[in-house]
């Protein structure tokens, strides 16, 4: 039901042409769309009711992300409504509560600044926040900060005396400089440099030297939602492809009559079905037993990465030349799939987690 109503809205408000329009206009964010999402309660999907949210849980967030994936909806949903909201609700104080309210109301866009190198590896963050009086001075650079240009606030992971600390900073704080990354998927990403940025204890989310208590659940929530989005991307690309196989004629018959393509399409469908199970399970597990959800989440992200990659590759190949043209939408699916494959940990990153937990 949630899926159907989301689909109804998105087909109208954000079909693929919406992303194309943003790209052609040189934009990476549509405030009007975001406002509508807030109005429907989507931005507050993980915000507690007392902070003005709908608190529908991770399975529901995954359903929304999946529907967004189907038409490549461009919004800061995962970074803000999933990751930041999950991080903030780990912290029981008024500031966090106010921040959650800002998310639910669609007033605050958050971005997550964790990566420093080309591969996701939060535990290896090197950027330093040096103690300075009662506060810190943060210096260094983050990359691949998704939604970083549109963000009002940014969650920043930095190394402190005994460990890692998560800071929640406004993007207009002195010493913060953002530069846009021109990513293949035409969505918002930034490099952010921190030049002796001042932070106080109030800017710390959770405890000093203990970022992961807050960040781990947030990352896992984001990974699960991203997996769901990728499941949607795969489904969208697959649906286009099957449609094309039925319509397109070559050598006098629909190309869907060629058995080699039939079997490849059928195999791809099997992959999407198996991945759908992993995605649904991750959302459920985050709702029911969040402390034990790591395996489920990494399983979903790994499977989704593999499946969406196959789906877009087969999508382009089966469409032939038309699939290669910018005028056709399939390329957008391929590009989003690649970016999503890297974000929050690639296949190998999550495979390693599965292997560790399964003692392989």
């Amino acid at each position: 039901m949630l899926a159907d109503s989301a689909r109804g809205f998105l087909d109208d408000a954000a079909p693929v042409s919406h992303l194309r329009g943003l790209r052609d206009a040189g934009k990476v964010h549509d405030p009007a769309l975001w406002a509508q999402m807030a109005e429907m309660g989507w931005t507050g999907v993980l915000v507690p009711e007392e902070a003005g949210g709908a608190d529908m849980g991770h399975a529901a967030a995954g359903i929304l992300a999946g529907e967004m994936g189907k038409t490549l909806v461009c919004s800061p949903f995962i970074g803000t409504a999933v990751i930041a909201a999950t991080a903030l609700r780990q912290v029981a104080n008024d500031r966090a509560s106010a921040a959650l309210r800002g998310i639910a109301e669609g007033k605050t866009i958050y971005a997550l600044a964790v990566d420093e190198g080309p591969k996701h590896d939060p535990d290896a963050a090197q950027m330093e926040a040096v103690a300075d009086g009662n506060g810190f001075r943060i210096s260094g650079a983050k990359t691949f900060v998704c939604d970083g240009m549109s963000a009002d606030r940014v969650l920043v992971l930095a190394r402190t005396g005994e460990g890692l600390t998560l800071f929640d900073l406004p993007t207009d704080r002195d010493g913060i400089t953002r530069s846009a990354m021109s990513l293949v998927d035409s969505r918002d990403a930034a490099r952010i440099t921190f030049d002796a940025v001042a932070a106080t204890g109030d800017d710390v989310l959770g405890q000093v030297d203990d970022a992961m208590t807050v960040l781990r659940p947030a990352l896992e929530a984001g990974q699960a939602a991203l997996a769901a989005e990728m499941g949607g991307v795969a489904a969208g690309a697959f649906a286009m492809t099957v449609e094309y196989l039925k319509e397109r004629k070559q050598f006098g018959v629909p190309i869907g009559m060629f058995q080699a393509l039939q079997h490849r399409a059928a195999h791809l469908w099997c992959e999407t079905e198996v991945t759908a199970s992993a995605i649904a399970h991750a959302g459920r597990k985050l709702d029911e037993d969040p402390a034990q959800a790591t395996l489920a989440v990494s399983l979903a992200k790994a499977r989704a990465t593999q499946t969406v990659t196959l789906a877009v590759q087969e999508g382009v190949q089966m469409h032939g030349g038309i699939g290669m043209t910018d005028a056709f939408d399939m390329g957008f699916y391929m590009k989003r799939a690649r970016v999503a494959a890297e974000w929050l940990g690639d296949y190998g990153y999550h495979a390693a987690i599965v292997a560790r937990l399964r003692e392989i």
Partner: protein
């Protein structure tokens, strides 16, 4: 509703506590622990015999079959409770058979009351063991290309021909077989689903050796076998309907064993210290896919509760069996030269590996499954 189920759970728990012999609570599910039943069955132990008798008396060897036909008359939810309580105490399955998995569902759906009353209770009690006679030499995936004939002669048929891949035909009491009863009709229209007593004159069997070693498979020969005509299930010449119905059952059954995980099977230990990225990446990917397949089986079971998964079950068969082949390849690779030896350091692994290659052939090849999905699930043109 929930109260009634809670009460049922308590009752089941008490009954199992009182009636399941200690020796049957070891979770033993290997081939050597299976009770297949049948006229020639040799019980492994008194406990195995007692366990079967007690369960059969309750109708719990076939919990969801009607009580009139030897079943337990349980609802789906009650059955789920019974299964979970049995798992809780690691109770062995009291009886397994093709009669339960295959013929039972076919008879319940297509049989007459007389047939059900006659054939089902002995299956439920483990007194008669059945085997299936579908495939024929040279037919392969084309199950409808049945050549074995059942020629009507008044009140009986005369059956001639040969079946292949009949599991345990040499140990079974009866066989259910697809036979051509009208050779002039179109391929799918002249086949009947016939029940034959294996002790009839003219029935003989020969075991088939596989590349993995000896196997339960046999060739079965019919040489002027006389079969009463009332032993047809469903309408004469409409046996293909029964066969199709059963193929879906078989598909789900085979896929149920598919997947399987590496983590629990000691591959971790086999891989330990191996810094070969090829092997490690293969094992990781296989485990990921197996975990996801396990979740998919659960999801499909849930779906089946509210309706039929229908042709999508072809996915379970296809993906589960292909995955099982991959899993065996990974294990062989992890085992290295130790795994090349029959009954060596890794026991039956080499035979299991070779045997797994048949998974994607038996019960409908992977190619047939993909074609089913392509046409009936995706709606691609045939």
């Amino acid at each position: 509703m929930t109260e009634a189920l809670d009460a049922f759970r308590a009752e089941v728990r008490d009954w199992l506590e009182a009636n399941c012999p200690e020796e049957m609570r070891d979770g033993g599910s290997g081939e050597e622990n299976i009770c297949w039943g049948g006229k020639r069955w040799q019980f492994q132990s008194e406990a195995q015999k007692v366990w079967l008798e007690r369960m059969a008396a309750k109708g719990w060897t076939v919990p969801t079959w009607p009580k009139d036909y030897g079943g337990g008359g349980l609802s789906r939810d009650e059955d789920k409770i019974l299964q979970s309580e049995m798992r809780r105490i690691k109770a062995r399955s009291p009886l397994q058979s093709f009669g339960i998995w295959m013929l039972g569902p076919a008879l319940l759906h297509f049989g007459t009351h007389e047939q059900k009353a006659h054939y089902l209770p002995p299956i439920a009690r483990g007194e008669v063991r059945w085997c299936q006679g579908y495939s024929e030499p040279g037919a392969g995936s084309d199950l409808a290309s049945v050549q074995s004939r059942a020629e009507p002669r008044g009140d009986h048929f005369v059956v001639n021909g040969q079946k292949v891949w009949t599991s345990y035909a040499d140990k079974a009491d009866w066989i259910f077989a697809l036979l051509r009863t009208d050779k002039d009709a179109p391929k799918h229209k002249g086949i009947s689903f016939v029940l034959i007593d294996m002790s009839s004159e003219g029935v003989s069997t020969r075991p088939i050796r596989l590349i993995s070693g000896s196997s339960p498979f046999c060739e079965t020969f019919f040489d002027d076998v006389k079969v009463p005509r009332e032993q047809v299930v469903g309408e004469e010449n409409r046996g293909w309907d029964v066969a199709k119905y059963l193929l879906t059952h078989e598909r789900e059954m085979i896929s149920g064993g598919g997947g399987g995980l590496l983590g629990g099977r000691g591959v971790g230990a086999m891989l330990d210290g191996a810094d070969d990225p090829v092997l490690r990446a293969g094992a990781m990917t296989c485990e990921i896919d197996a975990l996801a397949m396990g979740l998919t089986l659960e999801r499909y079971k849930d779906m089946a509760k509210t309706g039929s998964v229908g042709d999508a079950s072809a996915m379970l068969k296809y993906y589960g069996t292909e995955l099982n082949k991959r899993r065996n390849e990974v294990m062989m690779l992890a085992g290295g030269s130790d795994a090349l030896e029959w009954d060596g350091a890794h026991g039956s692994l080499p035979a299991d590996w070779l045997r797994s290659k048949a998974n994607s052939i038996e019960g409908g090849t992977s190619e047939v499954m993909l074609s089913i999905i392509s046409r009936r699930v995706l709606g691609l043109p045939a």
